[in-house]
Symmetry: C2
Subunit: 189 residues, 2 copies
């Protein structure tokens, strides 16, 4: 029973995340989340008493955790900061193009659509990006970069991926990823 409950909960978080990536936060109604996750009506407030903002905080946490896991795996396979930068950007590109330019970042809508009516929701974007940037910076430093340089490259890498996700999506052309990988890997090597 606990297993089924947490399964339904997880499905709702995943569905909410997909919808935020496709159309942002405000356009996503709880009824859309229920429909996509095939969860029974009423189960949203059972699992998420805080409603949509609580779902968004969970979706952001899921996104950060997946990003950090992917960064750790990519770092283990990489032999230089430049290779890790490339892997991070290529993962973002693949997610975008595999969805036919429909799915962007989970976090960006929560930042861009802030109406400042939820302190927790307002804080989650900064916390998520900080987690991802710190993970990258840690690996860059482990490859031998000075801590300040590692943080700067991590700041640029995450901003670069966020920006390329937006302009490539709008242009329906992944050239911004090539351009960003080019400038970032030059700085990383």
């Amino acid at each position: 029973m606990a297993g089924r409950r947490s399964d339904a909960r997880q499905k709702m978080v995943s569905a909410a995340r997909e919808l935020f990536r496709e159309q942002g936060y405000h356009a996503t109604a709880l009824s859309d989340v229920l429909k996509r996750s095939e969860a029974p009506r009423g189960s949203v407030y059972f699992h998420f008493p805080g409603g949509k903002s609580e779902l968004a905080v969970e979706a952001a946490a899921l996104h950060s955790q997946e990003q950090v896991d992917a960064i750790d795996s990519a770092a283990a396979a990489a032999t230089s900061p430049a290779e890790l930068v490339r892997a991070y950007l290529e993962r973002a590109r693949t997610n975008l193009t595999a969805s036919d330019y429909r799915q962007g970042c989970t976090i960006a809508p929560l930042v861009i659509e802030s109406t400042r009516d939820s302190d927790e929701l307002d804080a989650v974007g900064g916390r998520s990006f900080e987690t991802i940037i710190a993970a990258l910076a840690g690996h860059f430093a482990a490859f031998g970069m000075a801590p300040d340089d590692a943080r700067r490259l991590a700041d640029a890498t995450v901003a670069g991926a966020e920006g390329a996700l937006i302009t490539a999506r709008a242009l329906r052309d992944d050239a911004p990823f090539d351009a960003m990988i080019d400038v970032l890997t030059r700085s990383a090597s």
Copy 2:
């Protein structure tokens, strides 16, 4: 009378643009636009029969035009691609920090919040970014860069500004702009 009409129209576009920059597209109601522009009720559909999506298309056009004007001015004052890149990013940074990290890009919400119910609205993000990227690429080429390199640097510059606007806003820290200027100017020189 025509002057007063177009003045009211322009005020509504400017107000809509500010609101999109602060909280995105879907969270912005036409009543918010009327309130901020101090336009009389009913005047939205007089000036914008297409409603909010038409306002958004106009706001995006205003944004692109201002960006291109700023790029042209910065290019006239610059002596190298690196200086133009820096001026473009510094302008984005100033807009963000002057608003106490509240106002991002006008175009990004229109891309991220697409619900695909307006073809015109769906097209405006790509058209706007293409206009801005082409303006930068033209100036980079005029400074002597090969056309492909100029386009690549312009792609990276616009994506870099978009990404830094999001992560810096979320972090409430403008370090991503320093990081992005650093990597872009290295590639530009």
